[in-house]
Symmetry: D2
Subunit: 262 residues, 4 copies
């Protein structure tokens, strides 16, 4: 059979009916929450009660970080320039790169590969944590999901771990993440805290999520805030936000004469 | 006092503490849902129980529409070209324009202005509906929020109205929206259904939301699906999705000789 | 005949051959410049010698404006967050809205409609200029293409007008643009200069361009600079650029107790 | 001295004056072309006559590839959804990822590292080419810049090499690129052509460009075409382009009953 150009396993639309992974969308509404349906879209199944609570927590725990984040800053500059709301939000989403939310994906990959090794070779979490930190140190790579420029003791991590315990997702990946945290002082001279990105990574891994969906949690989590900041900038602030010329330090060549064309 | 370059009323970050409209984020997590916190971000207050249910419904009722939407199609092309997940999602969000989700904003504006006239001049919903349809017909403008290319009887609208009744947001704006629907046959010769965009617009207006947040509902609603489609394209399909040259109909000039430069 | 889903008059691809508006792309390269081929893409014809010079000027005169522009600022924040080069450039392009480059489109529309009225009703430029300023003043709308937050005497406008004279595109639309400038003092109490956006709008109109391509000039013009700024931020600056929490003025609600769910 | 938050070496703005790498922008206009000024923005110096010709060639040789490219396809879907021109162009730029234009960057990196090894160890191009192909084969990685899904004998490559000879940029990196091409048959069983991305990579390397600017050539090159396609879709085609529901193959779960919440 010829392959179809348009093909998806996620959902089906026909007149007056929309199926999401086999479930009628209209029947789900009012019965399952936004977090549940996000779970369904990403996993193909509806969540259990514990999964539902944990999913909602993962999507709210890093909800908002004010203008102290590149994505919100990108959004307000774009929002100030006379564009529709979604354009400003889109720019913010595009900023959720390796250094901004990307640690969820990177840390989840690290932890999932670590737990695979732990299970395949019957190792302790401490042993795997030591290997991970050692290899990062040797290759001069930052360990994703640890340390924070603003928070010395990230309160979001603590809350996330409490709910993970209540919902029974405080398991192997979380243990490994904490084993790494405990060893950071040995490797870096000072302790590096497990930050909210690293903790989301550990919990989503204990829930069975593919690490490649890691950024999805951050994107969905921050989108309502991007809408709020775009709205505030568009309707309650002045247009055309830009660094004033007097604020800008020019570090380039001094003025010079334009040569004739050769 | 000099105005600050960086200024917001939405949230405050300081070491180990994040406030959202005055509430400690960590304290909200596990107690209030994603829909609740979206409400908080956009309104500045936490929702009541009815508002909470209605908000969740507004954010799930148009969750997903498969590849039958420009935003998902844009996402899959971008996702196929070797980019990070968030870049593909960002392109999808940017497509939520006037003809794709924008009807929520446009219809909410129309209904809010209509209800203002109704109250100011003590008019009936039928009278305002008639005025609205007449002015759109005279200026050859489409009425936003009515009719659908695929659904002849949008099941999402029916479900939304049920929950609006249960939560007591089936009020003036919804009545006006239905009064317009009832009159479409008179103006257009055939009935135009109130579609899900128009119905979201009516209910969010009865909840007291500013029409300028209309696109926000659509953006947040569709973002988990954009993540799912980007993920599917990136990891379960072939790279470099593009129209094949044989599929493309060229309607331009036949081949011609390149002239010498004048 | 059934309409094709994929259809374009711009170019044709087949194995080992690419036609652009009927011309073989490979034959054009080395004979016609980037500005010429942009002209071809947008007009469907190759430019004359005068059109070629003028086109290049329109694409270079507002080349770069440092960090004193929302698009560059959006680009550097996105570039700092660990994304590929094109993602940062894309965010910058998305910021070229109504208040940032959009004046080219708006001013070109205004001038083209003005010249149509002038010709239809045999009016003087001064009369049309007066009508335009009057109607903007009455509806409290800003006149696009006039005034500049940084430049009191935009040197780019002067240079553009010189080249427009040399290439014979200093015609009706430019005259109208200058007639408006001359009258701004009468309407606003102080003179508003014709800025570079307004001047590009006038000259592109005298070249016969559709006003709806106005933003195209600005986009193409600024893209090499966005690449340069993204490159500088990515490889010669620190990652994760964001407003520091100490810099941010929070204007929202003071901390308050989280209520129990109702 | 405290570091400045806003800092750049590229350009300086002050009232009525703009410097680009030390040159007055207004003085450059009409004397240097768009390609020249792009060279200046990216290198910090004005080009010689040969560099100017070569630069223009690099920016035009892959100008346009119709709807047979993910970036143009993304642009038309976004353009169809009721957004401003720049939003649709922005989505197209965001699609210029690793599999779509990214080969310029990857191939330039490969060639620059190869020439470094060649010079450091005094190797022949053939030896380095053999090493490169061998290592790619062993790690099952595609060699960037070779082969093309549509063109069996890319005419753009031939034209580019002619102009590189004329302008004296047919040097070490081009020789290495051709040495790799000559050996592809030995490694892959069938010859893989040097495609236009690989050839741009080789020539830009012989001009002394940093490989990390590779995507910049592709971005600037394709932007005028994205503008043209967005304009065509917005004003000469129907709104809301999306796959029709009948065209979509749903490969997911069959309809199933919605379970009660656990």
């Amino acid at each position: 059979m010829a392959e179809s150009f348009w093909r998806t396993a996620i959902s089906k639309v026909e007149p007056n009916k929309i199926l999401v992974h086999g479930y009628d969308l209209t029947g789900l509404v009012g019965k399952y929450t936004y977090a549940d349906l996000t779970y369904l879209l990403w996993r193909g199944e509806l969540p259990t009660s514990d999964e539902s609570s944990m999913m909602d927590t993962l999507l709210t725990v890093c909800l908002e970080h004010s203008l102290n984040s590149p994505s919100v800053d990108a959004t307000v500059f774009v929002a100030s320039s006379g564009v529709p709301l979604q354009t400003a939000v889109s720019a913010g989403v595009s900023a959720m790169g390796d250094w901004h939310g990307g640690a969820v994906e990177d840390a989840a990959k690290l932890l999932q590969e670590g737990i695979k090794r732990l299970r395949d070779k019957n190792l302790s979490p401490e042993k795997v944590a030591d290997e991970i930190l050692r290899s990062h140190q040797e290759s001069h790579k930052r360990i994703p999901g640890y340390g924070h420029p603003t928070h010395t003791n990230d309160p979001r991590t603590k809350r996330l771990l409490e709910i993970a315990k209540e919902t029974h997702f405080h398991s192997d990946h979380v243990h490994l993440a904490l084993a790494i945290e405990a060893l950071t002082k040995k490797f870096y001279g000072k302790p590096l805290i497990l930050n909210v990105d690293g903790c989301i990574a550990a919990v989503m891994s204990d829930m069975g999520f593919d690490w490649r969906l890691g950024k999805g949690f951050f994107i969905v989590s921050r989108t309502p805030g991007l809408v709020a900041h775009a709205y505030e900038q568009m309707y309650f602030d002045k247009p055309y936000k830009a660094a004033a010329w007097e604020q800008i330090t020019y570090t380039g060549r001094a003025e010079r004469k334009i040569p004739d064309r050769t």
